[in-house]
């Protein structure tokens, strides 16, 4: 185990910023702490780094308890959200700083900095000052500086938050490659679920200072343990239905009951990919108008409006969209392949319910 947290709590006044958090990260793993702002994920990262003290609980780095080890002695690399480069030092001096402090030999410092400058493609920028660099370059210098003293673990706090979308994508790929090459245990904090899904081996989802779920990107997407995770990871249609005549209904939509009695409410959620759409208005059970198509790269998101005014989000590939000959404003029919019954927030979710229809369907499964 590279890093282990046992029952860590941290209070700011009476407010529990982090409450009874336990998890472990294996050697060489790339783990994301994901959650909305104020969920305690950055505090956890700073506790691992030693920049904050926990009020209770234990922290281990490579099997050694580090609660009483100062930040200087923990041998971690930390990348700050706003880079925090030393503005009075050049790129070279910034990267060399940690090595100089650790009293490396001058020639060794020179070699190590060169190595990192090559690795992060900062050649030609050695003598520049931080204010002469672009956002992406600054972030790479910050990563190089953190990696220079060969830390046991690399910690990144919202590393790509302050750069524009295109650079952010580049930097994400950087981080994955860098991790692949160096295999240093890495933990990064983000509020962007897409970023976490794309980069991390495992995701630890935080909400209100507590861990909601730990799992691979696929696990948290396909098997969310509760409604919070289900809603936070990816898009979800959420409907509140009422049981009438033995069937749960909202507008035109009908679902079987799951133990609820007449007049009771039931909440149902389903992913946009679980909605099957046809341009043939008689093919599926429900009829709707395709109100708007959102272009998301190779996938498209469709907004379907039923006669009652209810709006359902669907998702399909561009190929399928073209094959079906869909257009905004067109009447369509649709059905829902899988859905979940959502319990109260915080409690566990029952497994997904698959719906079997008699009518066959065409088109890809989509994601």
């Amino acid at each position: 185990m590279s890093i282990e947290l046992k029952n860590v709590s941290k209070f700011f006044g009476d407010f529990p910023a982090v409450y009874d958090v336990s998890f472990s990260v294996k050697e060489g793993e790339l783990v994301s702490l994901l959650g909305p702002s104020g969920s305690g994920k950055t505090t956890v990262l700073r506790i691992i780094a030693g920049l904050e003290y926990p009020d209770s609980g234990e922290i281990y780095i490579r099997g050694k308890k580090v609660n009483n080890v100062s930040v200087q002695q923990r041998n971690i690399g930390f990348v700050f959200q706003s880079y925090a480069l030393f503005k009075n030092m050049t790129v070279f001096e910034n990267i060399a700083f940690g090595l100089k402090i650790k009293k490396w030999k001058k020639s060794d410092i020179e070699n190590r900095v060169r190595e990192l400058i090559d690795l992060l493609e900062l050649n030609g920028f050695e003598e520049r000052y931080p204010h002469q660099l672009s956002g992406g370059q600054r972030q790479r210098v910050a990563i190089a500086r953190a990696l220079a003293p060969k830390p046991d673990v690399l910690l990144l706090d919202e590393p790509f938050g302050a750069v524009d979308a295109k650079i952010r994508q580049e930097l994400r790929e950087w981080l994955v490659h860098l991790h692949h090459d160096l295999h240093v245990t890495t933990i990064f904090v983000t509020h962007d679920q897409e970023e976490a899904m794309e980069i991390a081996n495992r995701i630890i989802i935080f909400n209100k200072g507590k861990i909601e779920q730990i799992g691979t990107p696929r696990e948290v997407y396909e098997k969310p343990v509760n409604e919070f995770v289900a809603r936070f990871i990816g898009v979800m249609n959420i409907l509140e239905l009422e049981v009438k005549d033995g069937v749960a209904r909202i507008g035109e939509l009908e679902f079987p009951t799951h133990g609820q009695t007449e007049g009771q409410k039931i909440r149902i959620g389903f992913r946009p990919y679980a909605v099957q759409v046809s341009s043939d208005v008689n093919r599926y059970k429900y009829k709707a108008i395709l109100k708007h198509t959102y272009f998301l790269g190779i996938m498209l998101r469709l907004e379907l409006e039923l006669e009652s005014g209810l709006v359902i989000k669907a998702r399909m590939s561009k190929e399928e969209y073209n094959l079906l000959g869909l257009r905004d404003g067109m009447p369509v029919s649709f059905q829902i392949k899988q859905y979940r019954v959502l319990s109260k927030e915080g409690s566990e979710l029952p497994p997904e319910v698959a719906v079997v229809y008699d009518t066959p369907f065409i088109g890809g499964d989509g994601i």
Partner: protein, 287 residues
């Protein structure tokens, strides 16, 4: 209004600018004001000092009283400025990088010398350290003379110039935040090394600015020093005190000669201050 409309036809003012009449009235008022109250007296200082020729001017500066006063002023500022530099850095560091009870009180107290009349400041010291003062008796018994002596003058000058360095540094340190320091800590630097390599270099221009202002005030201080110096010619007279003495002795050329040195100090301070501000602005634009 008719005139302005005619003007508009030939040359349109920028839409954000007001009437050109208002603009020129404001400019003329400012320039007249500045020339009457600042430039004219300043030029007059040099004119009076050189009214009997360059040789006479230098002879005035070479008078034993003048030389002693210059030496005294330099001595005081050589002690006061480093002391205030250390205090200013320590106070600014404490206020901006740490949380502690009484922080707001400390900030207020730092500003106190700005709001107290220098004469009152001088009197405070006389009452405390003078023969009638609480500590005076004890000091006298141990043969230590503070009032009417150099230590007293150093003390009051320190008091009067106390806020300059701290006041300059606090906003600069606040703006730079604590992230750079935290980054240095994660890279293994101790608190002292972090301060030396990261905090201090990032505020060096602000520090220099504070030191220059502090020095100008330390050399030019009159009121507080006047109260505690005792005016012993050739012993406890600083330049501003000597200027007054020369003037009262009807030696106005000597008075103006010595004044011209202080005026030059002011001009140099102004030039350096402007240069530092220009540099900072340029740096910020790049950043």
């Amino acid at each position: 209004m008719g005139a302005t409309r005619k003007n508009n036809k030939t040359k349109m003012p920028k839409p954000t600018e007001g009437s050109p009449v208002v603009k020129w009235i404001l400019v003329i008022v400012s320039i007249t004001f500045l020339s009457t109250f600042l430039v004219l007296p300043l030029v007059n200082v040099f004119a009076q000092a050189l009214s009997k020729g360059v040789n006479y001017y230098f002879n005035c500066l070479m008078l034993p009283e003048s030389k002693s006063a210059i030496r005294m002023t330099l001595t005081i500022s050589a002690i006061v400025v480093p002391m205030n530099m250390i205090f200013g850095v320590a106070a600014a560091w404490a206020v901006t990088k740490f949380r502690f009870p009484g922080k707001a009180l400390l900030l207020t107290i730092i500003d106190l010398p700005f709001s107290i009349s220098p004469v009152v400041a001088g009197l405070m010291y006389v009452l405390l350290y003078g023969l009638q003062g609480h500590l005076g008796q004890w000091l006298d018994e141990h043969d230590i003379q503070i009032i009417f002596n150099v230590p007293g003058m150093v003390l009051v000058t320190t008091f009067v110039t106390l806020p300059f360095v701290a006041r300059e540094l606090i906003p600069v340190m606040q703006a730079s935040g604590v992230e750079q320091e935290h980054a240095a800590l994660t890279l293994g630097a101790s608190g002292w090394k972090t301060f030396w390599y990261v905090t201090l270099p990032s505020v060096k221009w602000g520090l220099l600015y504070g030191i220059i202002l502090c020095n100008a005030r330390a050399m030019g201080e009159f009121g507080a020093v006047s109260v505690v110096s005792g005016h012993i010619t050739g012993k406890t007279d600083t330049m501003p005190l000597m200027v007054e003495k020369f003037y009262n002795d009807f030696n106005s050329v000597a008075a103006f000669s010595l004044s011209s040195l202080l005026a030059m100090l002011a001009l140099v301070t102004l030039a350096v201050k402007t240069w530092l501000e220009w540099r900072e602005e340029k740096y910020n634009q790049k950043g």
